[in-house]
Symmetry: C2
């Protein structure tokens, strides 16, 4: 029997014990956004550090201005083996609204789901369940072989669900200690219930707030209506001009740096048979609203977009008020891909607005973020090895996929530590993360552990 | 000496006593919007009824579900004299913000203004000061001649500043008692400090709220951005289409029934030298934003308009949220003139929106009002007599003018009692009604009384 088979067997044999440990972790209500749970956040950090020490890691909670980080190292002592940094987070979302839970959020249970057994509780998937797939994989490898195949640093954050304010300072201050060859990030999902995936593309974002101001005060529309500039009308006209009839964004230069999918990735995606109609149907929609010449899958992952996320102006209470407001504002965000330059997109947007202001209006801008898209080279050796390992465990190709949203830590790791990330996780669309009755499939947990065993083994070769 | 001169002399002689009575009235804080002042509203109604009884009126407060109305009659007993209904209101706006007042709002004072002596206090102009010009004119006429030249019914409301909820039921229930030949409404202003005016045109209004709905729930713009319909964008596009580049409203049929000013009125207006630049400059604007081929004065009084009075959708708090909202809504109002049909404008707007909805969107409409414009025939005998009387008092022509906003009571009187109104008042632009330091020029008060003496006398001839 090969060493890898021993480790896989160890993972299978230990599954109930692994679950017991996961449940211990889940019982700690480490809600980072609510200071009433500060002590529980610390307890979760200490629990994780102690669990890692038990596995021979040199691990401890580390103080920050917020909740502690957890850092643990276990080195092979051998030369020439890769050094991987594993990132996850031990904090969870608040469980509200409590009355929609069918069990208690911090008393995890095993239950039957429509597709097999599930683990129900806050954090079951996001991110304690996913983190424990990695830690339990380390345990199985050590049990089978007395050591890990690669040097491993585990880095757990306690503020991911509440702004990550300590992350960048901590990465910066501990740059040398955390530096590794690449990072494994487990905060993502499978393609579908049967198909694992590696996320290699994350969209960036430029988020702007614009306020258009006209008269020096709110005006009565009876007295001024017809002659006074109305900033809501001006704003509406500008927002309406941001897209053309083909669904394309009209900012000059917006598509600079945007490239089509490589042919091989496109072919892989076509084979996945993504059902755009079902995706939209789930939220009551039928017709893709984006670029007309792109599939839904492209629209939501590898194409840049523009959306208005909020708008407000004038009287918004009940009934009627005949006001022409002095100002109106909108929050406008752009999802970026490939080589789009956030600074150029931001400047193009501000220029676009300013150029369309009529006399008597001026605009005030506020930035709520500007970060580029992230793309991991689709042909790096660690990526190829990880995809092969996943394919062996799940019996089918693990596609590289894009995610429409951003995972800021990936950019921070690239920028501060200079390392790329492989985003691999076993979450599913129906995990209800951030919602009541969060769950993780037992199969995700079990095969997730086995997947990491195979990946760590493969990365050493 | 003619009878009219006697009455004018009586008004002059009694000015200080008239002011004392006005100050008594002003000291009663009859704030109709605040139930803490219910007793004061009643006190103001009783004060007014008692003042009228003192002048020989058969007057009393009348109960409503809200604040009392005041009705008083004084008939000449002669056949063939006109019967005029005078409308005003005894309630006032709340005085907030108190710290911006330089004197106490309900302790009226005489003070020096840049253009002469002024009366400062809440209600000094709107509407107690204006009401008292009429009552003191009656007093002067009675003092000089022992009787009034016409049959007079005085009707004072106590809820004008807080929705007038009892007005229509009261007019309906007391139709026969309140019926007169025409109504005099004193809730308007002069053309400027030297030029009296009669308001004969009031714009109507159609006020719609539209909510555009798309997905069945709010969506994450990272996951759905690019493929999901965004109701803010849809709404912005529709609102932007409501005007063309010439500032005209694009609703089909919108201008049906709109007529140009009669040549003689236009000539009178041209002679008034209305300074559109100054009007806009006072509120920080420079360039008229309406129909390009119309003057500011036309734009704000006799041309129909469309404005967005409020808009809201998505995230409007501080910072950023990457949401594609399930809905967005706007309050849109149209000011109507001439023969525009409110029902047709409302229907055209709803059709305009519905025709522009993309797939997956639907619109929900709510009406917040639909009333036609009001125009008093510019050549009626009472109007001609009143203009002549005003010209005699002020030494210059009293133009007929339009008001951009609506004065609902005028439409109610027309609809329920079947009578037209002459809108004559002596308020000035700088009276700061509804604001701190409300004032009424002593000259407005004094010459207002004298003007009513002349008008009532003229109407009898």
């Amino acid at each position: 029997m090969s060493q890898i088979q021993n480790a896989l067997d160890a993972a299978d044999t230990a599954l109930d014990a692994s679950l017991d440990r996961l449940f211990e972790f889940l019982r700690i209500p480490s809600i980072s956004a609510d200071s009433a749970y500060d002590g529980d956040c610390r307890r979760a950090a200490e629990w994780a550090a102690s669990t890692l020490r038990e596995l021979g890691f040199d691990a401890s909670p580390r103080e920050t201005i917020g909740h502690p980080m957890v850092v643990g190292h276990r080195r092979t002592g051998r030369q020439g083996v890769p050094h991987v940094l594993f990132y996850g987070h031990y904090d969870v979302q608040p469980p509200d609204p409590l009355d929609l839970w069918t069990s208690r959020p911090f008393e995890p249970i095993r239950a039957s789901g429509p597709h097999g057994e599930i683990i129900v509780g806050r954090g079951a998937s996001d991110d304690k369940g996913q983190v424990m797939t990695f830690i339990e994989a380390c345990r199985a490898l050590i049990a089978a072989d007395g050591q890990l195949p690669v040097d491993v640093t585990i880095f757990l954050e306690g503020e991911e669900e509440s702004s990550s304010r300590s992350l960048v300072p901590f990465l910066t201050a501990n740059r040398d200690e955390l530096k590794a060859d690449f990072c494994l990030v487990c905060d993502t999902g499978m393609w579908d219930r049967e198909t694992p995936a590696v996320t290699t593309m994350l969209r960036g974002i430029v988020y702007e707030e614009v306020t258009i101001k006209a008269a020096s005060r709110d005006l009565h529309s009876g007295s001024y209506g017809g002659a006074a500039q109305n900033p809501i009308r001006v704003l509406a006209k500008i927002l309406a001009a941001l897209h053309d009839d083909e669904g394309r964004v009209t900012l000059p230069g917006f598509y600079d740096g945007v490239q089509d999918l490589p042919a091989d990735v496109k072919a892989e995606w076509d084979a996945l048979n993504f059902d755009g109609a079902e995706f939209l149907g789930d939220v009551g929609l039928k017709v893709p609203a984006g670029e007309k010449d792109r599939t839904v899958l492209e629209q939501i992952t590898v194409r840049p977009t523009c959306d208005v996320n909020g708008i407000v102006g004038g009287y918004t209470g009940e009934g009627a008020k005949t006001v022409i407001p002095a100002q109106a504002s909108a929050k406008v965000s752009f999802r970026l891909v490939g080589g789009q330059d956030p600074a150029r997109v931001q400047a193009a947007f501000r220029q676009f607005v300013s150029a369309r202001l009529p006399e008597d209006c001026h605009a005030v801008f506020q930035s709520h973020g500007a970060s580029p898209a992230i793309a991991v080279p689709a042909d790096s050796p660690p990526l190829t090895k990880a995809r092969r390992a996943l394919a062996e465990e799940w019996g089918r190709t693990a596609p590289v996929i894009g995610a429409g949203g951003s995972i800021p830590v990936v950019g921070d790791l690239q920028r501060i530590l200079g390392i790329d990330s492989l985003l691999i996780g076993f979450g599913l669309e129906d995990d209800q993360i951030h919602s009541p009755n969060e769950k993780y499939d037992l199969r995700s947990f079990h095969k997730g552990i086995r997947s990491w065993v195979r990946i760590l083994d493969a990365l050493a070769r």
